[in-house]
Symmetry: C2
Subunit: 297 residues, 2 copies
């Protein structure tokens, strides 16, 4: 069924039937470090009408507390409990799988992943500390890897380099049973306000290319995080609405979880992407930006 | 049909029916900068028996003349005409496709690709000159890309970084009709003698991940290079034997082209890889290293 534009005719049906709005962040709340127009007022309106608000972000660069600080710095008050980031999801996945305490995790990605892993009591290394490591093949160099690494977590990493690719590849190829976990596989994202940049899907694919293995994906569109979300909020999935700018992560996640779905065109997806015959992911509704709800409410 | 180990019983059948031996380099002739045992004597024996010798390498880091120099430095005399590298294949692909002279090529890879493109009269940039470019997302930076780039060529690149990934992604996503060419998709290779390292398959997959497009592959197992090889050497494919250490590139290439195939276990493939039930690529013959032919001849 094709999507409906959000309008005065259908908005109250959606609004009245939804108890919790799940928002993606990049392309919905902000682009890079710039807030999208009307966001604070929209969130305020939703809270004033008693709606629960949750932020479900695939961007693993930050931890939940770092995201709460980012919201704060943009003038929006958000509790850490309202944030479900894919960095947190990676840590929760290892907890749920009873990751052995003597094993370590190698991280290709940001400080946020390391922070969430440490909060979960898991020993992790890599990430920013390997940002400046270089490889000179002419020196016949050898990368020695830690045999106790039992999982490699890969997320968005603007400091990607050949050392990290080699280290992660060695762990996955040579450590028996080593897990390969992707925070998400977004192709691109608004890492800055001015343009789109390669997302975690780029780094994850690189490791797929060198290991010839496929990862477990813990972020959207996987519904792994939903279990934790349901534990915090006593709302059934059918009374949730997932709001996002990406069809293949946000909208698919909402559909996989049985939520209502609203696509906003303020991020990576254009109306022509949505209506392209090759697209087979149709949200229930679409609109330009979340603040359109202000005019309709 | 499962492979036969090369033996006194079957060697003369192979040897007598073959006029040209096609050798892969990494893992067959050398590992990193170290020659594999017995290689010079084997090549000398083949030449003395009137066999033609060709080197077909997926490693795009060097140009044909740089490979000829590497052979020379290792004490082996090889003419540039005997070398078919995937860097050369990338340049020939663009020539065959009548790449417009006003368009440029962006390179993620080594100097060898740039050199072959220039020899073919094609304007190219990127590669080593972008090795040290850094991206600071906090500065809200913007990468401006050249709208006249009509092809992005991706090969092995130990200097891979986020700038190159962004530049290549922008060209492929935003320049209408921009080609995406992979020199090859080898997962790993012996970039040094001491261990395996992520190969071009890693960098190519990264760009697939960010662009959600699939490349044209010009190296093995694609038989694109065979057309040029046949032009140089007046030998039918059935009288050629492809000798390589990789099932999914070398042996598949040989089979795709209708050559006989010989797997050597001196590189990335082990005997247990070959005999694993999940492997469905069976060479005609296998042996430990090319110098085993010395004992059998």
């Amino acid at each position: 069924m094709s999507s409906q534009p959000l309008s005065p005719n259908n908005f109250s049906d959606l609004f009245d039937s939804v108890e919790a709005f799940l928002f993606d962040c990049d392309g919905v709340i902000w682009k890079g470090d710039e807030l999208i127009q009307g966001v604070p007022q929209t969130l305020q309106m939703l809270r004033s009408k008693g709606k629960k608000i949750v932020f479900v972000t695939n961007n693993s660069w930050k931890s939940r507390s770092q995201y709460a600080q980012k919201f704060q710095s943009l003038g929006i008050s958000v509790s850490q409990d309202e944030i479900f980031s894919s960095s947190f999801a990676a840590a929760m996945y290892l907890k749920v799988k009873d990751f052995p305490s003597q094993n370590k995790v190698y991280v290709i990605g940001g400080e946020g992943i390391l922070e969430e892993l440490r909060l979960a009591g898991i020993t992790a290394f890599g990430g920013p500390e390997d940002a400046n490591k270089t490889i000179d093949l002419k020196q016949n160099c050898f990368v020695e890897h830690d045999k106790s690494v039992g999982a490699v977590v890969v997320g968005i990493d603007p400091n990607i380099n050949y050392y990290k690719l080699q280290y992660g590849t060695l762990c996955i190829r040579e450590n028996p049973g080593c897990l390969f976990i992707a925070t998400n596989r977004d192709a691109v994202g608004h890492m800055t306000a001015l343009q789109e940049w390669p997302g975690a899907g780029c780094m994850v694919a690189a490791i797929c290319g060198s290991t010839q293995k496929e990862p477990v994906v813990v972020g959207k569109p996987s519904t792994f995080m939903m279990e934790f979300l349901l534990k915090k909020f006593n709302v059934s999935c059918s009374k949730m609405c997932m709001v996002g700018d990406r069809l293949d992560t946000d909208i698919l996640f909402g559909q996989n979880a049985g939520c209502k779905t609203l696509l906003v065109l303020s991020g990576v997806t254009t109306q022509s992407d949505l209506q392209d015959p090759s697209n087979n992911i149709q949200p229930d509704y679409y609109t330009n930006k979340i603040s359109d709800m202000l005019d309709l409410s």
